[in-house]
Symmetry: C2
């Protein structure tokens, strides 16, 4: 088997910086984590907040701290730093090779989607963003690593795409359609969701949007680890 | 224009963990950095060292510290932690959108390659690995961000590929050949170099090998930032 993770990300129209932050980090006992945060409001202030949260989490994960404890620490840290006045959403996907599971951590009202064999499960139990209250805890879901498992997380820019024009983003239908293509890559799934949102927003996203997709697939070819980053540069 | 970064990475044959570490991190003032370290020896001990070095560097870069200062700090930190008894090589590629340059940091006897318009420049001035002496300084080269600029860094596993079988890895010729394909992606360049090394090592790499390639290209399509990670899982 192999694991693939893809992230697609765009900033709110006419802002120079996205308030969303995503980082990928190796886990000290094997596996990998993707950490995504969306800082309250937009622009530089939001970026500062989401960066603080993500950095706190990845530093702890890199030390071998469990995901839930890392999320609680990030919340308390932001609460202490900003006296409960600013919030951020936080999600973590971790592939834990010790436990043989994907660990899904949510401090984000937005749902996380899980699919296996084209059946989609929606994780949308109520949970709080980090930073507002002392002692905020994440919701944690653990699922075995198995072929075909796909998990999707996103920031709320995806949910609200099109709302300025009276349109509604149907994330589940779009995800289902991507899953029906032949052995879809996570990059295809993430790109499809983001492209759909951008169409609804008429090419001018009304909020920062980030989509991250993790997928367990058949091993295709070699044993090489690969990483790829694409960054459009301003002219 | 857009920037693409690709990493290809494999561990020494019959070891469970590579001693090389690579992480990509956003820079707080715009742009991105790729940090690569190769810890002395192989397996878990080497991984511990390279992780320490990379984490130190990315934490400082994320705080806005300049690359040279971050590399010096990582060296002093490893020197202090391990009393000068262990070393690691360290390379950084940073795309600094404030200065409009790619900043290349070397604490690695292995060369860094730069290409523009298919002309290849070899950065191989002598420099020291980090961790052995107090006050080790990196070599820094700064080049303007321009279309077609390609930079390549690698760990010494690439250089020594095939040596067990009396073969010699001709990195420059392989890189030149990749550049001659039509608008090669950095992933193609990294994969070509690693595939060549694996052939020379008869599919059983005698050391951890990491190749990272950065390339400035024409903007192709949308303004979406993308990230992709592929991780083969043990059966």
């Amino acid at each position: 088997m192999e694991l693939q993770i893809a992230v697609a990300k765009i900033e709110k129209y006419a802002t120079s910086q996205s308030g969303d932050t995503v980082e990928v980090v190796e886990r000290p006992n094997g596996g990998i984590s993707v950490v995504m945060a969306d800082g309250q409001s937009s622009g530089r202030g939001a970026k500062w907040i989401s960066t603080l949260v993500v950095r706190k989490v990845i530093a702890l994960l890199a030390d071998g701290v469990r995901d839930g404890a890392a999320a609680r620490a990030a919340s308390d840290s932001l609460f202490t730093e900003r006296k409960g006045k600013v919030s951020a959403t936080l999600n973590i996907f971790s592939v834990d090779q010790q436990s043989g599971t994907v660990v899904i951590t949510r401090n984000n009202p937005a749902a996380v989607l899980i699919s296996l064999d084209e059946k989609i499960q929606i994780l949308d139990d109520p949970c709080l963003s980090v930073g507002i209250y002392r002692g905020t805890r994440p919701l944690i879901t653990e699922v075995p690593i198995e072929k075909g498992l796909t998990t999707v997380m996103f920031t709320d820019g995806l949910i609200h795409a099109g709302s300025r024009y009276g349109e509604t983003m149907d994330i589940i239908t779009c995800f289902q359609a991507s899953l029906e293509s032949e052995n879809p890559s996570p990059q295809l799934i993430a790109d499809d969701l983001l492209a759909y949102a951008l169409r609804l927003d008429q090419g001018r996203p009304s909020d920062d949007i980030t989509v991250a997709v993790l997928r367990v697939m058949n091993l295709s070819g070699d044993n090489v680890r690969r990483m790829f980053v694409r960054l459009p540069l301003e002219p």
